[in-house]
Symmetry: C2
Subunit: 504 residues, 2 copies
Amino acid sequence: MPADTSASRIAALYNPEFLREAGRRLGELLAEHFRGVQNRETSVLNWRHPAENVAEAGMFLDMGTVQPALPIPDEVGERFAVLVRKALERGQNLHSPRYVGHQVPPPVPIAGLFDAVSAATNQPMAIYEMGPWATAIETALVERLGAKLGYAKNGFAGFVTHGGSMANLTALLTARNVAIGDAWEAGVPRQGRMPVLVAHGESHYCITRSAGILGLGTRQVVKAAIDDRRRIDPAALDAQLTTLKRENRLPIAVAASSCATLIGAFDPLEAIADVCEKHGVWLHVDAAHGGAVAFSEAHRHLIAGIERADSVVWDAHKMMHVPALCTFVFYKNSAHRFEAFRQDAPYLFDPSDPGLSEYDSGLKTLECTKRGAAFGLWGLWSLFGESIFGDIVDATFQLTRAFYGLLSDAEDFMPLHEPQCNIQVFRHVPEELRAAPADILGRYQLELRKDIVRSGTFYLVPSNKDGTAALRCAIINPLTTPTDLNDLLNELRARGRSVLSRLK
Amino acid sequence: MPADTSASRIAALYNPEFLREAGRRLGELLAEHFRGVQNRETSVLNWRHPAENVAEAGMFLDMGTVQPALPIPDEVGERFAVLVRKALERGQNLHSPRYVGHQVPPPVPIAGLFDAVSAATNQPMAIYEMGPWATAIETALVERLGAKLGYAKNGFAGFVTHGGSMANLTALLTARNVAIGDAWEAGVPRQGRMPVLVAHGESHYCITRSAGILGLGTRQVVKAAIDDRRRIDPAALDAQLTTLKRENRLPIAVAASSCATLIGAFDPLEAIADVCEKHGVWLHVDAAHGGAVAFSEAHRHLIAGIERADSVVWDAHKMMHVPALCTFVFYKNSAHRFEAFRQDAPYLFDPSDPGLSEYDSGLKTLECTKRGAAFGLWGLWSLFGESIFGDIVDATFQLTRAFYGLLSDAEDFMPLHEPQCNIQVFRHVPEELRAAPADILGRYQLELRKDIVRSGTFYLVPSNKDGTAALRCAIINPLTTPTDLNDLLNELRARGRSVLSRLK
């Protein structure tokens, strides 16, 4: 076969032998990488200005490339390794025990190799035929996770979608369509009973966004009153729903959080469910972060009552430690599974086989083509059993209690709440700032954070409580130790001194 | 370290050494799998009833699992291989040259291993810090693909999102927010100028869905008139927009297709852009499938004028042959990049560094956490250079011309259109059905398709033209040969005989 024809170039691209070599190299590169990162030999974030990284990523795209040819030359294997190494060197290292940042975990790496099976073969679903095993593992996982939440067997429905924002949007779209029978076809009404969405004021931003997307308008989001631990106050919610009724407004849902983003507060779901039942309002629970406590005997109580929610969102790519994105949506009543969307696509759905439409994911999800997003979770669970999920929840929650203890005991740190889970908001208040105005204290937190993050020693995130900036950690890497947390405080103190001198 | 504590179990999960072994095994299993599939030794679809696959997938979840322990026992490596092999055996085999089904390609498999780097390490973006290299490769690709479309350097903006449906939704949300200044905050108006969406009547179902989601209502979708080749008719569109103006309606966008789903018709974008400019209406082009013709000298003319579109959607996971999902959204005017969404998330976006928000993907995309979806495309392009994308477009379009020739020459097949790309709709009309009523002829197509698909010999899809069912192929595997296509016709004839006998 001549090496320079289009056909032979294409055949070479698909040369199966190349995967043998690439798989071997990938395994070695990942092993080497994670060893260094987990041993704290590597910076957490390798900070570079974006423009610098963009230019370098582009250089690889533009530079003279090897010609694929049969047999694949060693050159391609070498180049594959160069590209993988570059990507590993320039990424964010969630696997560092000194990553205590956002609510995104270091996935158990092997889950990424299961995802590669889905990626390399493409199992795009939408309809069962286009991803029979992808559909099967998703369905099997929906059954088990729904049971973990406490939903009645055979009564509920669920599916996987790409991330918490899309999941919350889909569930709230369903709630909208159920509350306003003809909203899908006729649009959102602006006369008569004006629709509103009642939500925890510190819910993830995607909840308010959903109101903007769905045509309700973000001004139609009513903040549920919260108690002194920043959880929805059921008695106040009851009064709010009564007032809305008097004002002739139509609450399409109450969106509670397990947990809310700011300090990780878990709403009291049993009492909220009572109120929603009383008023006949859809209860939605965003358990993107907290759903995984269902696996922990010690912490399961935080979501007691979740089985009464009409819809629930749960990110496996948060506290179940699989790669993003893998989010589950549940409906208590399976009759709601086709309420979000309606379509007519003759080239997709075969009317001669109506019984199978139950397994056609495209009827339930925003996605049409939908990668097999649950391979990582299915593989991880099948490999090691479900006990690992409770282990990780317990370990990270316990570490956060320890961190709270360290903060409370220190003269110069101020925890801003007692942690319910693995989220802790705090401030560093060195002696010099004890009497400082709030804006200076806040600016110091942000500058200190930027300094430490760009040094690569630790990764933590900014926050804001009561109008003043603060520091925030999600202790989500189960390899983090109490020593790391103590080192974090010392690093903040040390770097704080030079930040202070610059602030003045 | 005792083997039975939670801490040691967790440490074992993250044991880097395991990746070395798993990577090696993955490479071997994939090589072996693709060799068999590409050599036509494996069924295209291994048909099993969904309930059977679900039960088996669940069995792996429930069965006694190995305990992770340090050092990782061989048992775990074995079990990893068992699980991967099972997933490979039970999937849909897009890599079979006899897969001529949906508009979802067999990805170049090595791209899946680049995706594994993103999955194993998790590079979740939303903000630049959380995926610096993921952001960099996405940005570098946006620059190059936007230039391919013909957008003026520095004038446009773009990003990656999870699939064509979400991409079209986001672009149309932007169009809605631009057309109705306060729709985001106040909701979609139902008085005054009623908003409408003008769309190709054979656009992907997600376009009409978008109207349902966005609060416009699906009834507010006006079908653009089409010509005899099922492309939007610009003169008729001009008249429609004039009528809508007279009726005091507000078109938020004209949604054209490159190409429309039914027969793969490419709308005449230059003429449509003229009409949209004249009426001051946003032009959106869904080029999910067809965007890749930008890489082909022979076929680039099909999207001439696309650089005049206000927004464009392009799936790299269609005709650029990377794993799903990797979709690009472009805005001609970069000022529109933050129009879709607005939020306030103090724990995410650091106000002390406003210059970097340009690189925070979460401000532009529906996703907050967003896997690094462009690793596969970046790796593939960097490895082999961009010429491969044009090669694949040319090869598959040429094969489809050949298929059209075969269908036209055969007495018993009827192509329903001349192909503009790699989509071909047709019917098998054996002698016995020449005078049959349309419903019988249609039922025959569906039954024949089901029969052949479940036999595993070929994979093609159902369609419907003018109310009667038909067969449809996307010839999207560049390893398909003219011989395969000839064999397909013979297989349809042979299986048709037994289907016919059952129909009677």
